[in-house]
C-alpha cells in the first residue's frame, strides 16, 4: 500500500496554494493528468478540461475558501452549459441553463470543477453498475464495484484524481461508496444543503453530500455548500455552525452508542471486527461506548423501498420525451411517444423502481404500502430520537461488507438492496451521518458510520477528525498497480 500525499487533500492543497508552492493551474493539470491516467476507472462521464483550465487561470489566489482546489461533481448536479446526464440515456444530451445551488456555491468559493462523475442511473443503485455510461471500477480492485450511487465521486477521490467530490445520498449513496473506496463520506442533515438543481430521485430523502479523504476537508466543503436557499422550500434556514472551527473539539466524554442492529446478521464478521477496532480507538481518546438498540431498524429497508420508489415514480414522470431528454424516433401517437421514449431512455433498475413506486401509490394499495411505510418511517425516527436522549452519536459499520465483485449482485436486486441495510434508516430519519475509513479486510477498505442528531454535523465531524488524528487508514492509497 502506498500513502496519499498532502496534495491529495483539500487542506494540503490550500496550504500549498497559500505558501505559493502550488498554483491553481498546476493543481488542475495534476487532476486532469490523473484523470487521463485512470480513465479505465470510468469514473468521469464528462471531463471539462478546457473550462477547468480557464477557470483556474482566472482565479485570484485566496479569493474564496476553496480557491484553486479542483473537484468533481456527481453528474446529477445541474451545470450551466455542461451536460448533466444523471447516468442515464434519458439525459445523455441534457444541458441545463442553470447551475445547481451546490455547484454555484462551490464555484463562488473558488473550487474548480474538472468534470461530472459517473453514477448509478438517477442515483438508483449501490454498485454503480446501473450507469448508462458503464460501471465504475473500484481503485482498490478494478474487478470490484466502488459502491453507489456516487461511485464515480468515491473512486475519483480514492484514486487521488481530485481532493474532494460532491455526491448525493438518498439511502447511503455517499456513505456506502465512501466506505467501499476508503474515503470519508458526509451526508448532512436533510435540509442542511439545498437540493435546487440536484436531479431528484426521492425528494424527501435526497441530500447532497461530500466525499474527501478527511473530516477536515469535508468540513471545509460543507461550510461552502450548506445553508438556506430560497429556491428550495425544504432547505433549512437555521444558521450554519462553524464546522471547521469545531473540528478540534475531540471526543472526550462523548457518548457513542454502539447500535446492536448495525451489527446484525448480514454484516461480515471481519467488517464488524474492524469497526469495533476503530471504536476502541475512539474509546482510548476518551469516548464512552454505550450499547444501544434501535428496534425498528430492520424495517428500514422495506420502508425505504416503498417510499423512495413512490417518490421516484412521480419525480421521473417529467421525462416524457415532450420537452427535453430522450425522445423516440417517429412516434405514432402520444402513448407511443411516452411508451417508447421512456422504455428506451430508462435502464432496468430505474424502470423497476418506477413500476414499484407506481404500484404502491395505486388506489387500493396506498394504505397498505405508502401510508404504512410512512408510519414505519416515524417509528424509525422515534427510535433515533430516543437513542439521542442517551448518547451523542451512534455507530456501526457503514456497509455490511467490503466491495463486492462487478456483476456479483447485478442479477439479484434484493441482495443489492441489502447493501443499504445500515444506511437507509438515517435518510428516513433525516439525520446527518459520516462514513470514515476504519480499517481493511482482505486489502479492501472498511467504513465506520457515525450518525448524529439533526444538525449535529459539528459533533460528527469532530469525532471523525479525532479518529483520523490517531489512525492512518484514511492515509492509505490504492497501489499504483490498482
Amino acid at each position: 500500500m502506498s500513502r496519499i500525499e498532502a496534495l491529495d487533500t483539500v487542506s494540503g492543497q490550500l496550504a500549498a496554494l497559500a505558501a505559493g508552492s502550488a498554483t491553481a493551474i498546476a493543481l488542475v493539470e495534476r487532476s486532469l493528468e490523473r484523470a487521463a491516467a485512470l480513465v479505465e476507472l470510468n469514473a468521469l462521464i464528462t471531463t471539462t478540461a478546457d473550462a477547468a483550465r480557464a477557470t483556474a487561470a482566472r482565479l485570484t489566489p485566496g479569493s474564496g475558501p476553496l480557491a484553486g482546489v479542483p473537484f468533481a461533481q456527481k453528474d446529477l448536479f445541474c451545470t450551466r452549459g455542461v451536460r448533466t446526464t444523471c447516468g442515464s440515456r434519458m439525459l445523455a444530451d441534457f444541458i441545463a441553463p442553470y447551475d445547481a445551488t451546490v455547484s454555484e456555491r462551490l464555484n463562488a468559493a473558488g473550487a474548480v470543477s474538472i468534470g461530472k462523475a459517473n453514477m448509478d442511473e438517477f442515483a438508483m443503485g449501490s454498485s454503480n453498475e446501473n450507469s448508462f455510461f458503464g460501471p465504475v471500477r473500484n481503485p482498490w480492485d478494478r474487478q470490484r464495484v466502488p459502491g453507489g450511487s456516487s461511485g464515480g465521486s468515491a473512486a475519483l477521490v480514492a484514486a487521488g484524481v481530485v481532493p474532494f467530490a460532491t455526491g448525493s445520498d438518498t439511502g447511503g449513496s455517499v456513505r456506502q461508496p465512501a466506505a467501499l473506496c476508503g474515503v470519508v463520506g458526509l451526508k448532512p442533515t436533510y435540509g442542511r444543503v439545498s437540493r435546487y438543481g440536484m436531479v431528484a430521485y426521492a425528494s424527501s430523502l435526497d441530500q447532497a453530500g461530500v466525499l474527501a479523504h478527511t473530516a477536515d476537508d469535508c468540513a471545509r466543503v460543507l461550510a461552502a455548500i450548506a445553508g438556506a436557499d430560497p429556491r428550495d422550500a425544504t432547505c433549512s434556514t437555521r444558521p450554519l455552525d462553524d464546522y471547521v472551527g469545531a473540528l478540534g473539539s475531540g471526543v472526550r466524554g462523548l457518548r457513542i452508542g454502539v447500535v446492536a442492529e448495525y451489527f446484525g446478521a448480514g454484516v461480515d464478521p471481519a467488517v464488524a471486527q474492524a469497526v469495533r477496532g476503530a471504536l476502541q480507538v475512539l474509546e482510548r481518546e476518551g469516548a464512552v461506548l454505550v450499547d444501544v438498540r434501535l428496534p425498528s431498524l430492520p424495517l428500514s429497508i422495506p420502508a425505504y423501498y416503498v417510499l423512495a420508489p413512490a417518490e421516484a415514480s412521480s419525480n421521473l414522470a417529467r421525462y416524457d420525451g415532450v420537452r427535453f431528454g430522450h425522445r423516440c424516433d417517429a412516434p405514432t401517437d402520444l402513448a407511443d411517444l411516452y411508451g417508447r421514449s421512456r422504455a428506451e431512455g430508462f435502464g432496468t433498475e430505474v424502470k423497476r423502481r418506477i413500476l414499484a413506486g407506481t404500484y404502491v401509490l395505486s388506489a387500493g394499495y396506498y394504505d397498505a404500502y405508502y401510508r404504512r411505510a410512512q408510519r414505519v418511517r416515524r417509528l424509525i425516527a422515534n427510535d433515533y430520537q430516543r437513542a439521542f436522549t442517551e448518547v451523542d452519536l451512534l455507530a456501526g459499520p457503514t456497509a455490511p461488507d467490503v466491495a463486492f465483485a462487478l456483476g456479483e449482485k447485478a442479477a439479484d436486486p434484493l441482495a443489492m438492496y441489502a447493501a443499504d441495510v445500515n444506511t437507509v434508516a438515517v435518510n428516513l430519519a433525516g439525520l446527518p451521518a459520516i462514513s470514515v475509513p476504519a480499517g481493511f479486510v482482505t486489502g479492501l477498505p472498511v467504513g465506520l458510520q457515525l450518525v448524529g442528531p439533526a444538525f449535529g454535523e459539528t459533533r460528527l465531524l469532530a469525532a471523525a477528525h479525532a479518529l483520523q488524528l490517531v489512525s492512518d487508514w484514511h492515509l492509505q492509497a490504492p497501489g499504483a498497480a490498482a
Binding site: T84, C86, S314, R318, V322, L334, Y338, L361
Partner: protein, 482 residues
C-alpha cells in the same frame, strides 16, 4: 303507474384563478395573452433539478376567501401530487391539495329570485396550479404546447351537493363570481378562463335521501352554459332512468353548439391519480397572526352591504341588489353618497341611471368613469339645493362627461342656473299671461288642465331654468289675482 317525481342534486367545483403577479410555485409572470412559452421559467417547464416554492400571496388570498365564507382555515395544510401524464402537464403531476386542504367548510348565501335565497354549504377550497394548454390548430399534423398558463395559482372551491336546479347552480356560480371579485382575489374574467366550473349532477326520486349516480360536466366558463348544461343533463338522466337504463358515472363535456353534454373519451377520465403528499413542499402554515391580519383587511361583504342599504339607507331591494352587484359600483355609490349626505335614493337613481347608461354606452368599467364620485356629488348637490332641475342636471352630466369641467363650471358657463328669484319669475309669468289671455281665461273658468300648458309656456320662456315648485306657486297666485 304514477309518474316518478325526480329531484336533481347538484354540486359545483369552481376553479378560481388567483390574482397574483407570479405563479403558484415559480417566479414567472401570470399575465394573460403573452406569446406562447414566454411566461414559462425552468420550474414551469419542469427542468430536472428545479423545485417548487409556494407563493405566499396565493396562500393569503385563499385565507381571505376562507374568512369571507366563514370557513375553517387549517393552521397546517398539505400540498399533494396528482399524478397523470399529459403533454401540457410538464412535471407529470399537478401540485394540488388532497387530504388536508387550506379551507374547509363555510357557506355562501345565494339569492335565487322571488326574494328567496338558499344557503350553499362549501365542502372545501384548496390551492393548486393550473396546467398549460395544448394548441391543436397552430401546426399542421402536430400539437403545440403553451406553458404560459402552467403553474398559474388556482383556488378550487367545492360546494356540497345541495342545489336542486340548474337555475340555483347558475345563481350560486354568479354569487361566487361576485364574491371572489369583491374580495379582489380573482379578476373574474370568464373568457380568459379565470373563473370556470365543473358541475356534478345526479337525480333521485323526490323524497329519497340516498344520492343517485352522478356525472361530472367539465370546464364550463359561462353562467348561461352552466345553466343549459345542467338542464340538459338533468333531462338526459331522467330520460335514461325512465327508459329503464342506468346512469354511468362519467365525465361529460358541454357542447355549446349542440347544447348538449357528451361523454369524454373514457381514456381522458379513467385516471388513478396516485395522490401523495408532495415531498418538495413543507406543509402550508397559516399562523393566527396571518388570519387576523387578513380578517382586519376584509372588506364589508356584499350581503352585509346589501342589508345595510335596505335598513340604514332605506333603499329598495332592487336598488340594493343592483348597487352591490360588484364592489366597484357599491364603492362608487358610497363615495357619491358621502358627498351628498342623506340623499341615498337620489344617489342610487343616478348611479343606476345616468352613470350606468353612460358607462354602458361608452363600454367603460365604473373604475374608469370619467366623472369621479366627488364631481358627481357636486352636480347632485345643485339639484338638492334647487339651483337646477333634475332635467337640466342630465345636460350638465353630459357636459361633465365630455370634459367640460365641474358641475358649477358647466352651469355657470351655460347659464343653466334655475330662476328662483320671484321678480324674474313674475316677469316671465306676466309676459306669458299677457300673450295668452284666452288660456288664462279658460283656467279662471275652471279648466284646471290648461294650467300645465301655462307652466310649459313659462318654462319655454325661461329656457327651462324656472324653479318648478316656485313657478307653480307664483303662476297660481298671478292667475287668481289678475
Amino acid at each position: 303507474m304514477s309518474q316518478t317525481q325526480w329531484q336533481a342534486v347538484i354540486g359545483l367545483e369552481c376553479h378560481v384563478q388567483l390574482l397574483t403577479r407570479s405563479k403558484m410555485f415559480s417566479g414567472a409572470s401570470t399575465a394573460y395573452g403573452a406569446d406562447p412559452n414566454t411566461h414559462a421559467c425552468a420550474v414551469d417547464v419542469a427542468l430536472p433539478g428545479t423545485l417548487p416554492v409556494a407563493n405566499a400571496e396565493a396562500i393569503r388570498l385563499a385565507v381571505r376567501f376562507g374568512l369571507a365564507v366563514g370557513a375553517h382555515i387549517r393552521p397546517m395544510s398539505v400540498f399533494a401530487r396528482k399524478n397523470y401524464f399529459y403533454p401540457d402537464l410538464p412535471k407529470g403531476y399537478q401540485i394540488s391539495q388532497y387530504e388536508e386542504p387550506i379551507v374547509e367548510g363555510g357557506s355562501v348565501r345565494v339569492a335565487v329570485g322571488d326574494g328567496r335565497s338558499i344557503t350553499v354549504a362549501l365542502t372545501r377550497a384548496h390551492l393548486e396550479e393550473d396546467a398549460g394548454k395544448s394548441v391543436h390548430d397552430a401546426f399542421h399534423g402536430a400539437t403545440g404546447i403553451d406553458l404560459n398558463r402552467a403553474g398559474t395559482p388556482l383556488l378550487e372551491i367545492v360546494s356540497e351537493p345541495v342545489m336542486h336546479s340548474a337555475a340555483e347552480a347558475a345563481a350560486y356560480m354568479k354569487t361566487l363570481h361576485r364574491l371572489v371579485r369583491w374580495l379582489r382575489i380573482c379578476d373574474g374574467n370568464l373568457q380568459e378562463g379565470s373563473f370556470r366550473c365543473d358541475a356534478n349532477v345526479s337525480i333521485r326520486p323526490e323524497g329519497d335521501s340516498t344520492l343517485g349516480t352522478r356525472t361530472e360536466i367539465k370546464n364550463v366558463n359561462s353562467f348561461r352554459f352552466v345553466e343549459k348544461a345542467i338542464e340538459y343533463e338533468i333531462e338526459r338522466q331522467i330520460r335514461e332512468l325512465e327508459a329503464g337504463r342506468s346512469i354511468v358515472q362519467e365525465t361529460r363535456l358541454y357542447d355549446e353548439a349542440r347544447q348538449q353534454t357528451r361523454p369524454m373519451r373514457s381514456k381522458e377520465s379513467a385516471h388513478d391519480y396516485r395522490y401523495f403528499p408532495d415531498p418538495d413542499l413543507p406543509p402550508v402554515v397559516v399562523p393566527a397572526e396571518l388570519q387576523e391580519a387578513e380578517r382586519a383587511l376584509l372588506p364589508e361583504l356584499p350581503d352585509a352591504r346589501h342589508a345595510r342599504y335596505l335598513e340604514a339607507l332605506q333603499l329598495s331591494a332592487y336598488d340594493a341588489g343592483q348597487l352591490t352587484g360588484d364592489r366597484e359600483t357599491a364603492d362608487y355609490f358610497e363615495a357619491l353618497l358621502s358627498g351628498v349626505p342623506g340623499q341615498a335614493k337620489l344617489c342610487a337613481n343616478w348611479v343606476l341611471g345616468e352613470v350606468s347608461a353612460a358607462l354602458n354606452a361608452a363600454q367603460y368599467d365604473i373604475v374608469a368613469c370619467p366623472i369621479a364620485p366627488a364631481q358627481l356629488a357636486g352636480l347632485l348637490g345643485r339639484i338638492v339645493d334647487g339651483s337646477i332641475s333634475g332635467k337640466i342636471a342630465k345636460d350638465v352630466f353630459t357636459a361633465m362627461w365630455a370634459g367640460e369641467g365641474s358641475a358649477d363650471a358647466v352651469i355657470a358657463a351655460r347659464g343653466l342656473g334655475q330662476i328662483s328669484d320671484d321678480s324674474a319669475l313674475v316677469a316671465a309669468i306676466d309676459g306669458v299671461l299677457a300673450a295668452s289671455p284666452e288660456q288664462a281665461g279658460q283656467f279662471r273658468a275652471g279648466d284646471e288642465k290648461i294650467f300645465t300648458w301655462l307652466v310649459g309656456q313659462v318654462m319655454r320662456a325661461t329656457r327651462g331654468k324656472a324653479n318648478p315648485s316656485r313657478l307653480n306657486q307664483l303662476l297660481r297666485e298671478r292667475l287668481q289675482s289678475c
